[in-house]
């Protein structure tokens, strides 16, 4: 084995601005090198605070094998003479060069600033940001798990993922324009990277019955994945951004699929790491009964289905295209606060392992959705009124749950909804009524629309 030594900097100490996580990755990498019995010279990280800023001083020499590339230096050179790239990936096999951000923006209209127009996807073109994101995803170097990367665009994130040691990546790209980038990358990396032209959010459409690209059937997308049991650890990690149009709708449909355990969730639990807008994040994490405009049926379904974990919050301006919105003037200041939308939030949505433990089954999942949506269509209506019209005699069920009689539908928490539903199931109120069929039909016609 020939070891290539790479001398990065003889220089003493460079003043580099680094994120904490990046630095820790640095340390991990150096450890890895140790493990590979390669020569590592020195790696020092210091933290000193000059004035108000936190800065890291660091110097490093790294070595790499021909097959596995390793980062050599991260950061931004600030005042010195050397102008190091923000992040250099050195590999035996040279990865295709990535054009600069400016060039990309020139070439692809969909990356340029948009004024008020609807955008479909947002992209990360800033390697530093990509690195940060990858850092937050946790350990990626495990061999077993697939990583689905959604709409990577030119592939900045993909490079980071590769650098972080991901071994099986499937790129699901819904824009033909960017396919060549991913293809080129896949050629270099070989088995570690697969590319598919598909739209992850238009999975399993019904429509005419013909799946037209970029819509895709789950069977095709998951053909390389071994289905896992629900309780097992997630087999696939999905990384990407929620499609910018109809974010809420896509999230809701994810919930439907979890509750029915259909489509992609037939293959076990998926870990979804998605960038969503702050507004939607606030929606899915809204507490019950506080703000009934924000707290809606989708929030309940999301909270019932997923463990929601916020990983990262980044300002909108770091994603391309930057959407320049016309000024929306809110009449009340409260509304302006309620709908802050300055950041993108990276959230991890993991379907709850215990979801189907208490009586919920994939068969009656649609009924639960139906119940939630019907009740939350009028969140301010008194719960008892609504319930009495549908299920006469459900008052005692409500009192069994310990719900106050004057409670509004929007005051129930997701767990309470679930409990209510299970009790109603048990009492047989739904059995053999129009309810069952209607619920099934409705939810399915919705799924139909999702395509």
């Amino acid at each position: 084995m020939m070891a290539t030594c790479l001398y990065v900097s003889k220089c003493t100490l460079l003043q580099i601005h680094l994120g904490r996580q990046v630095c820790s990755r640095f340390l991990v990498a150096s450890k890895l090198l140790h493990g590979n019995q390669l020569h590592t010279h020195s790696l020092n990280c210091h933290r000193i605070s000059t004035s108000a800023r936190v800065r890291w001083w660091c110097s490093a020499v790294c070595a790499v094998t021909p097959r596995s590339g390793l980062l050599c230096l991260v950061g931004q050179y600030r005042h010195g003479v050397f102008l190091l790239p923000t992040r250099t990936l050195v590999s035996g096999l040279q990865l295709p060069p990535l054009p600069s951000t400016e060039e990309l923006m020139k070439k692809h209209g969909c990356l340029r600033r948009v004024f008020k127009s609807r955008i479909k996807n947002k992209y990360i073109l800033d390697p530093a940001l990509a690195a940060v994101v990858v850092d937050h995803l946790g350990d990626l170097s495990e061999n077993k798990r697939w990583i689905f990367e959604l709409n990577p665009g030119p592939g900045v994130m993909t490079r980071e993922l590769l650098a972080a040691g991901a071994s099986r990546i499937l790129i699901v790209e819904n824009d033909r324009v960017f396919l060549p980038y991913s293809m080129a990358l896949a050629k270099h990396v070989g088995e570690r990277l697969h590319v598919k032209y598909a739209d992850f959010f238009r999975i399993d459409p019904l429509g005419d019955g013909v799946v037209k690209q970029p819509a895709i059937s789950s069977v095709e997308l998951f053909n390389k994945v071994q289905p896992a049991h629900w309780k097992e650890e997630a087999v696939v990690r999905v990384v990407g951004m929620l499609s910018q149009e109809k974010e809420k709708t896509h999230l809701r449909h994810m919930c439907y699929r979890v509750l029915e355990r259909s489509s992609l969730f037939e293959y076990g639990r998926m870990e979804l790491n998605l960038f969503i807008t702050e507004k939607v994040y606030n929606m899915i994490t809204a507490p019950p009964g506080v703000d009934l405009v924000v707290y809606e049926s989708t929030s309940i379904l999301c909270q019932a289905c997923f463990d929601i974990q916020l990983l990262l919050k980044e300002p909108n301006s770091r994603f391309l295209p930057v959407q320049v919105k016309g000024k929306t003037s809110y009449k009340h200041k409260a509304n302006a606060d309620r709908f802050v939308n300055d950041h993108m939030c990276l959230v991890r949505l993991t379907p709850k392992a215990t979801l189907f433990d208490q009586g919920l089954t994939p068969q009656n999942g649609s009924q639960f959705i139906f119940l939630v949506r019907q009740l939350m269509a009028k969140p301010r209506a008194k719960l008892t009124d609504r319930m009495e019209i549908w299920v006469p005699g459900s008052l005692n069920i409500l009192s069994d749950l310990g719900l106050r009689p004057d409670m509004r539908a929007g005051d129930l928490s997701p767990t309470q909804f679930m409990k209510l539903f299970l009790l109603l199931l048990k009492s047989g109120s739904f059995h053999n009524t129009w309810w069952e069929e209607e619920a099934y039909e409705q939810i399915h016609s919705i799924n139909n629309r999702a395509a």
């Binding site: 037939e266 994939p362 005699g393 009524t433 069929e437 209607e438 099934y440 409705q442």
Partner: protein
Amino acid sequence: MTLILRLTSVRSFRATIPTLGPSVGLGSVWFGGCPTCNKLRTAARYQNTVGFRTYANVAAQKKDPRVELYTVLSSRAQQLSKPEKGEGVRQRQKKQEILKKRKVSSHVRLEPVMSSLHSAQQTHAQRSLSSKSNINVYTTNEVENKQTSQRNGSTPQWQTSHKKPFRSTPRVAESIVEEELDVIEEAEEEDAHEKIARRQEEIEKMKNMERRQNEEQAYILSFMEACVSIGEVDRATRTLHHLKSQKKRRKHLNADIYNVVMKGWAKQANMDKIRHLFYMMTKDGLHPNLQSYAAALECMGRAGLTGGVPIRCVKQMYKEGFNLEDIFRDCTFQVDEQEYILKAIQDGCGMADFTPPLLPPPQRCTTDLVSSIYADESSDNHRDESLQVQPLFTEDEVIQRCNTQLEMETQHWLKVESVEGQRQSSQEVLKLRELLQTHKTMWETGLLQAFRTLKKQMDRQSKAKGQLNIYPFLCVLEDQEYVDMMVQAICLVAVTGDPLLIIARDLGMKIQQKYRIKQKLQSGSVEKIGQIYQDYCSFMVNNNQGGKPGQARELWCQLEGEQGVGPVVGDEGAWPINLIINLGSLLVDAMVREVKIDNNLFRKTSEQKLIPALYHMYTYRNIKQVGIIKPHPMLVQLVEGAQDTNLVFDSSLLPMLMPPVPWSSIKKGGFLLSPTKLMRSNDATLQHELLLEKVGTSELYPILDSLNQLGACAWKINQPILDLVIRVFNNKGSKELDIPQPVSEAPTFPKLGTEILTNGDKQAMRKQMAQVRKLRSEMHSLRMDMLYKLSIANRFRHEIFYFPHNMDFRGRVYPCPPHFNHLGSDVARSILVFAEGHPLGEKGLDWLKIHLVNLTGFKKKNSQMERLQYANEIMEEILDSADNPMTGRKWWMTADESWQALACCMEIASAVRSPNPQAYISHFPVHQDGSCNGLQHYAALGRDITGAHQVNLMPADSPQDVYSGVARQVEKLRALDAEQGVKVAQVLDGFIKRKVVKQTVMTVVYGVTRYGGRLQIQRQLKDIPDFPQDYVWEASGYLVKKVFMSLREIFTLAREIQDWLTESARLISHVGSAVQWVTPLGLPVVQPYHKVKNKLVRNEMQNIILNVSSDTSERPDIIKQKNAFPPNFIHSLDSTHMMLTSLHCQQAGIQYVSVHDCFWTHACTVDTMNRICREQFVALHNQPILEDLSKYLLEEYGTLPSELQTSPAAVSKHEKLMEVLVDVPPKGEFDLKRVLDSTYFFS
């Protein structure tokens, strides 16, 4: 503007001044003679920033008999002028009482000093103070002019009034009038002119109904009207006060709203209230209009007031620029209103000789095209005497049937026996029927109670605060009627659930309809109408089809004049949509809460309890969340199982028993009582109506007359066919014969298993489910539609009946009853025949045979002789079909229009078998169909020789078929492509048939887009079994391109015209207007496509969002305006052609009916009709249609709206528009006259 304030104390005066704002600053104040005046004067000085001039005791010095009257009036007025709010109210009331005790009344009048007012007016004002009326009286030189003119004229009404002494105040009034006139005359001359001009403008406005545009106003107005109609004028007044006190609502108040309330008080002869309302109005800065004065006069008439008050009122009227004749010309009256107004004028004012002006003599229509029809002497009446037939009814029958019709409409609905219920019902069905009946009674009691509670609650709400709510609308009908409506609605909810919006709207509409009928009944003119109707009918029946066009209309007007029916209330009382929906959803809410069903109806499972039968829930089937009302499956099962024997129809959905009321103006016609619109429009679009009103009734005579002609056609049922259809229908329908099957025949839903399905299975199941669902609901609606049709036909089985007609905004004519009419499907057409019969005559039988072959569609490319020959060849088959329709060889079933073919077979059979076929009396309608009528008009417009040849404008030996022509052309292009190796072209080899391109060619004229055409072709290709299905999508795309190309080649000039029209429409709508034009027959057309506006209707049950696309205040929808203009324009032309043919057919005395571009008549008169049809086509296209259009558009859109003149984009677009409009497409060489000889033009 005159402000009259009556103040009771200094403090209230002080309090009032600031609220009056700047208008007072200009004012002058007069204080009446009373002890408190000194105080007031000081207060006024104190408050005064600009000089108030005080005139105290002026009145007191004058000893006038009317002063006494006035004091009485004013003290009474004080009592009623209750202050509005809380504490202040009580305080003021106390003070009033104190004042009353002291017998003191103080008056302050504030009047802004107009710049043009000089000393003369002040003196005048002083004088008028002497009259001390709170209806202020002025008189203008207008009055003077009037007087002089009348003095000189033949009817010296005013003069005689001088001679006639007043009852209570002899002579005084007269002298004062004279005096005042002298003083004011000169000073006010200019001012008065201005005022008169303004008034006239306002009258115009009033006529235009523009006030209705504002929905909020319409709501308030409807509320007031409803209140008044239920006799709660008090509530109306209270609400008026309440609204006035609200800043937001105040601005919506207008004179009409006041007028309605005033009218209510006038009915009760309560002059004080009216006076107060006048006062409120002027205080709000509203001008009383003609109707206000009419109400005041009416009230005076009722109260029997004479002397000063009515005189002053009239004088003020003149001063405001109205005159008495206007009242009778422009106002609408009910019952005896007119009489009382007349009384007030004749007795009250002492103008005994005053008579209401006569209606202006009907004007002549000036359109050139129809000048021959309306010529005075129609000496050469081509009427065929042989066509004279026996009248359809005897005198007695006429009277009886008229009464039945009137009764039916009074009742508003009619129970019709369902044809489904006719068959033997099993034990089970009977049991279910009984169950349903018990449930219905249960619902009725429950609903009645709920309804009463609701009413009470609303009553309280509106009474307590004077709020504007739904209460009066819950009172306009009897409680039981509402409940009946609700119970009916329960059984009609579709299995899959109906949107709340639709159910609520239907309910609301029904209530509105019934309310309007009730109002008409209340207005008391029903007997008169009934009498007129009888006279009219007996005349029409005896003289059917024979008359001159316009006769029916003139006759009606004449009869109306004789009976002395003035202008009646038109369509104005329409409720705004939010009101209708709110009203409906309140009832639906009650239904959802109250309607219960026994849960053990069909199976015994648990303890018996009542569960809701209707559910309000939300569905997400469409993109939006839609609230629907869903019936419990058990309810559906019950209703379906019981096979209800009765269907209930509104009388406006049924044919009429006697000829419909002729359209004599744009508001009157159609049904007797049920409101009918001349021009159909969705929502409450007013733009068409406004446009029609602008044109004036006389210019619309040809259009009205042709509608009348079409409506006057008598129909009857072809009973053997009806029996057959009903038999097939009750025998589970038939797919082949196009009789819809019951839902029970539909595939059922796949069962939901408990086992966990695999992914693929689930998907397949979902797909299946969606398909089944769609299929079932389609089948259900088709089945119901047919059931309605057949039941109505069955109900009128032995009757002779009529369809009133109206038109859409392009002038296309439709019968009003929607379910069963001759415009319907093959089945509906086959069961209708003319009630009048004519002997077949020489050529009649041949025409019948040709008609039969036409119906089969077998010999499209053959000449008429060949068709006739073919019919003779297959005579045996025809007779067999006629004799054994269901058991024989069933030749008729192979025809395109099988049921009509069968009917025709039967007619031929009986004609052939009659001893003398020529004398056989035939009732059968024979059709003549335009071959691709849209393209015919295009070809004629462009004088396009090739095009004209293709669509049979040119005489030819055999009919030309444009579809085959296009198919040939496409095939040529395809062959070229195939040679060059285009894959799709090669695949399509041998598949390009006439049928594939037919629909697209046909619809291209009507503006089908590439996408739509592609779908049509795709459907056709899918039906071809041999065609490789993988290529369908690609091939359809390829073909549609080629079809468009070929059409362009064949109809070059037509496409040029279409492009010109499209481009003009695009630019017009870009500049910001809706496209508008006038047909050669003078019908104004405007395209009602505007940007969709979402309108939120809030109510407790659920907020409903309406998409309104016809709001004229929105910008036009450019794409729709542009794409729809060419087809709409062509439609307006074909409707013109149809109307012209109709008018001339009437003149020729032949029966004529149309289904757009398919003209029907008796077999013996086909030739006459064909001649007229061709003549009229030539006459129509001899008009410079496109040039006229260009001229009209230039005039209409020649000037850019001022607000757009600043925008350079709009200006450049406008310039471009002008260029395009001037550039009328050129014409070809085609000689129009040749159409006259073309056999296959309409065949």
